[in-house]
């Protein structure tokens, strides 16, 4: 090779070359086909190495590690049917919330039982034995008020529950799970259904009864996780593209080709997610699709503004962190 810029080309594709040097090297590359070929070869090697897919799916942690992780994580990941039914719980604060709700339900049942046993046979005695009036409680009718009267006398409990509810948890308060007098009727569960906000990080949590993960196949899950991971890598690489002074962005052949490959798979996976009713995954794939499409349709040497527009959209939609979170979540769900 007449001119040896190979080392600089290596730095250029890593974004480690100073701006001035990068600009002059870009200029040189546009004239020297040999050096341009070196860059194409380096980028091709990069695409092959970065596209390497592990032969084995990341497996479950062994016991010692599982114990460490379980301190904060698996308690929420392995939460029971009640938590899922209530729709509460993320990695932080599930125990407090769950304990509060469970205590409330048990307390309500106990009060209801005592009230039923005591009040029904001897309504007058109950009234005389527990004369403390409670503000805001109607005294006009008989039977429905008995639990309230009893609660007022066992009484530290309602305020205590209220305090616990708003106390140590870091989650935003949910008015629907504050204890109310109506909840002294032991039928609270239907009120809490579907109260969990959409959360990409919890997508496809294993074991969820109405969880889309349970109705999607393991292979699709694995493919989706991989797709998220590869898309994330592509978007990161795209985000790091360097603008040039001449108004042209650096070579994007690798990113464009990768986007074309990922686009096809994205469409497939989105359709499958739609069919399976996995709304969260389908939504994320739908947001990803136009970005992939735009990158795939870029010219060989697009203008800075074209690239910048796409970069801004990537940032605005927070796709990179969402993809990262989801690739892990989906991979875990598939374990």
């Amino acid at each position: 090779m007449g001119c040896d810029q190979t080392e600089k080309i290596s730095l250029l594709i890593d974004g480690e070359l100073a701006t001035e040097d990068a600009l002059s090297l870009e200029q040189h590359l546009s004239m020297c086909s040999q050096c341009d070929q070196v860059r194409a070869d380096f980028l091709s090697l990069r695409s092959q190495i970065s596209a390497y897919a592990p032969l084995l799916e990341p497996s479950k942690p062994r016991p010692a590690l599982a114990r460490v992780l379980s301190k904060s994580h698996t308690k929420s990941a392995q939460r029971g049917w009640l938590a899922r039914l209530l729709g509460v719980g993320d990695a932080h604060g599930f125990n407090t919330r769950f304990a509060t709700v469970a205590a409330l339900v048990l307390m309500t049942l106990a009060i209801g039982t005592i009230a039923f046993l005591r009040y029904r046979p001897l309504p007058e005695i109950v009234s005389n034995n527990f004369p403390v009036p409670r503000p805001g409680v109607s005294q006009s009718s008989g039977t429905p008020e008995a639990p309230d009267q009893l609660a007022g006398n066992f009484g530290r409990k309602p305020p205590k529950v209220q305090q616990r509810e708003t106390g140590p948890t870091r989650r935003k308060p949910n008015s629907r799970i504050k204890p109310t007098r109506e909840q002294s009727v032991p039928k609270p569960l239907p009120q809490f259904q579907n109260s969990a906000p959409p959360n990409y990080a919890l997508v496809n949590e294993p074991g969820g009864g109405n969880d889309p993960a349970s109705i999607r196949s393991g292979d699709t899950e694995a493919l989706t996780a991989r797709h998220f991971e590869q898309s994330e890598l592509l978007l990161r690489a795209f985000r790091n593209l360097r603008a040039t002074r001449a108004g042209r962005t650096t070579e994007i052949a690798y990113e464009r080709r990768r986007a074309q490959q990922l686009l096809y798979r994205n469409i497939m996976l989105r359709r499958e997610a739609d069919n399976d009713g996995d709304v969260q995954v389908a939504t994320l794939l739908s947001s990803l699709e136009p970005i992939l499409l735009d990158i795939a349709n870029l010219r060989d040497k697009p203008g800075n503004s074209e690239v910048q527009t796409i970069k801004e959209r990537v940032e605005r939609t927070s796709l990179v962190p969402l993809l990262q979170i989801n690739s892990v979540a989906v991979a875990r769900a598939n374990e």
């Binding site: 190979t6 190495i49 084995l56 062994r62």
Partner: protein, 177 residues
């Protein structure tokens, strides 16, 4: 304490898959061993350094330890069989047809072969750059070497791989004729 555990779990979720892939490429495709060593790295992190490391350092620490564990495995030569092998199941993403499947497997095998032709230091530096997208400075932190050494290692690795690639292509086309 609880938040430290949560942070550790988040770190595990974020980096376990990529650490496995990194080790797998380093260890010539020995996937189960790679996962074992990745888990060992996380355990060591939790046991020894988790509370002492400044924020953001854990990732580099992990890759450093993982690499050292991998080097130990190289030294052992023949790796002992592990019961861990039985716990993992094979994951091969299904492609549209067997031809594509075969092609992808061949591609993976070739990548591994080419990587194995590199000296360990160059291979590690290149993997950290191409797969984990670490900067030269970060790679230097992981490998405990200077940035200029990283620069040279990556450059040499690329040059070697390019030559290997070119020789393969020539051999392939001469066989074809």
């Amino acid at each position: 304490m609880a938040s430290e555990d949560e942070e550790f779990t988040t770190l595990f979720q974020d980096f376990y898959p990529s650490l496995c892939r990194f080790l797998e490429c380093l260890l010539d495709g020995r996937a189960a061993l790679a996962q074992d060593l990745a888990q060992e790295s996380f355990l060591q992190l939790h046991r020894t350094a988790w509370s002492k490391l400044p924020p953001g350092e854990a990732r580099f620490w992990l890759y450093r330890v993982a690499r050292n564990l991998a080097i130990n495995e190289f030294r052992k030569g023949q790796t002992r069989s592990r019961s861990f092998e039985h716990l993992v199941k094979v994951m091969r993403p299904r492609r549209r047809n067997p031809e594509e499947e075969y092609e992808a497997q061949e591609q993976q095998r070739m990548v591994l072969e080419m990587l194995q032709s590199l000296p360990e230091g160059q291979r590690t530096a290149l993997l950290l750059r191409e797969q984990e997208q670490l900067s030269y400075r970060e790679i230097g932190q992981v490998l405990n070497i200077s940035e200029s050494k990283v620069k040279v290692d990556i450059f040499r690795a690329r040059t070697t791989l390019r030559e290997t690639w070119s020789r393969r292509n020539q051999a392939f086309s001469s066989r074809g004729h």
